[in-house]
């Protein structure tokens, strides 16, 4: 089970891989769409890769609730618990 810091670091790598954004830019309070300019297709790619990396399931209907990086970290953390 990963700590929140590890989840954030892993997520930042995934975002970097998909969008080219620097990993440091991926912070807990950043909004995926507004701050990081991630579109819906990139978001699905990030979700798919996060599922693989963290061994969790993120249902389609849950994705719209993951507005910030922090939301995603919390969801993954809870799903792993």
């Amino acid at each position: 089970m990963a700590s929140n810091e590890e989840i954030l670091a892993g997520l930042a790598e995934i975002v970097n891989e998909e969008t080219g954004l620097a990993t440091e830019a991926v912070e807990l309070d950043k909004s995926f769409t507004e701050d990081l300019d991630i579109d819906s297709i990139s978001m699905m790619t990030i979700v798919v890769n996060a599922e693989e990396k963290f061994g969790v399931r993120i249902p389609d209907e849950e994705v719209k609730n993951l507005k910030t990086v922090g939301d995603a970290v919390s969801f993954i953390s809870n799903a792993q618990a």
């Binding site: 579109d39 819906s40 297709i41 699905m44 790619t45 979700v47 798919v48 389609d60």
Partner: protein, 375 residues
């Protein structure tokens, strides 16, 4: 009692694709054209789909016309006369008659009669389903040569103002002739379905519902809306449709009655990227080859972003040429793989004889993949 011994058809150990043909209709629809119908931009569409143009057929060009164009080229390239065909298979979801099949008519037009002829309904996996069947028919000895066609006139089943799928779609046809070979030319098909996701891509409503709606516009509209979108029962969308129908504007009524395609893009994208990369890998494994052995990757041309993601997931080396016909042709469902292969070979003739991984996936949900030797 002595039972006479039956004769069974001798089998062919190997098959391959002998010739490939394509038909691209000549109406070009640009992103700017699309933006007259939906609130979008050329940049937005390119960024999210990779599509720049799509080809669409004129009103007087049918699915069978396009299938015939592709079939004639495939036969000519294969050096096979239509009379030698042991079966004619057409994959399509847009032949406008439930019966008779497009294939029977096509067989007659090209001079393949009395070859058995039938259609396959496997949407964007239709071409790979056709290859699976053509390969099986030839290897089993049931047919010596089989014509497999993917042909679609998707422009007949779209609503240009709809935002989930219509703007992606184009028309066209591709065809191949499969026959016996001295060496293996078609790897094992990895194909299947997941009907639990039947509503991820499909028509807005059935033909029966369209008939009932034509007879009783108001009654059926409310029934369809409550069945299809229980959550939206009598919400804005439902009442807007009713209001439109009440105005009795012919065009609006027709659009509401005629079933058109729509999809749940998010579900489809995730399934395509995640599950289909696994299927593609299984096709490589089944054929006993690795990504390094390929010269080309020809996925169904659904969305450039899906193609990019699959390339990453499969860890394809840069030596593999990836088919990206979608930029120019849009998504043509069952026709997309043969059309993309046709372009690939036209632009890179040296790929002929090399191994290509092809994978189709779509409404059903259904999927099919094979490694083939490029003709």
């Amino acid at each position: 009692m002595s039972v006479p011994v039956l004769k069974q058809a001798p089998v062919n150990p190997n098959t391959r694709i002998l010739g490939l043909g394509a038909y691209r209709p000549d109406v070009i629809v640009t992103n700017d054209d699309v933006c007259q119908w939906i609130d979008s931009s050329d940049e937005w569409i390119r960024q999210r789909t990779g599509i720049v143009t799509r080809h669409r057929a004129a009103a007087d060009v049918s699915v069978i016309d396009m299938a015939e164009g592709a079939a004639r080229e495939a036969l000519q390239k294969a050096g096979i006369d239509a009379s030698q065909l042991g079966a004619v298979i057409v994959s399509t979801v847009t032949h406008p008659y439930a019966t008779p099949s497009a294939a029977a008519s096509l067989a007659d037009r090209i001079g393949a009669t009395p070859a058995p002829a039938f259609d396959i309904s496997a949407a964007c996996a239709g071409y790979c389903y056709g290859i699976a069947q053509g390969d099986a028919l030839v290897r089993s000895g049931a047919a010596e040569y089989v014509l497999v066609v993917g042909a679609e006139k998707l422009s007949d089943v779209i609503d240009n103002t709809e935002r989930t799928i219509s703007f992606l779609l184009g028309d066209g046809a591709g065809a191949v002739v499969i026959g016996p070979s001295d060496t293996p030319g078609i790897g094992p098909s990895v194909w299947g379905s997941d009907g639990s996701k039947w509503d991820a891509i499909g028509m807005t409503h059935s033909l029966n519902e369209a008939r009932d709606q034509a007879l009783d516009p108001q009654g059926l509209t409310s029934r369809v809306n409550s069945q299809r979108n229980p959550a939206h029962g009598n919400t804005a969308h439902g009442s807007a449709t009713l209001t439109a129908l009440n105005t009795a504007e012919a065009a609006v009524t027709e659009a509401a009655i005629w079933p058109t395609l729509r999809q749940d893009g998010q579900t489809v994208f995730r399934w395509a990227v995640w599950e289909m990369a696994k299927v593609a890998q299984q096709a490589l494994d089944a054929a006993g080859v690795t990504a390094d052995d390929l010269v080309a990757f020809v996925p169904h041309q659904a969305n450039m972003r899906i193609i990019d993601e699959m390339v990453k997931k499969l860890k394809l080396p840069e030596t593999v040429t990836v088919a990206r016909d979608i930029a120019e042709a849009g998504n043509t469902s069952a026709a997309s793989i043969p059309l993309a292969t046709h372009r690939l070979l036209k632009e890179n003739p040296a790929l002929s004889g090399g191994l290509a991984l092809q994978i189709g996936f779509g409404a059903g949900l259904v999927f099919g993949a094979q490694v083939i030797v490029l003709p």
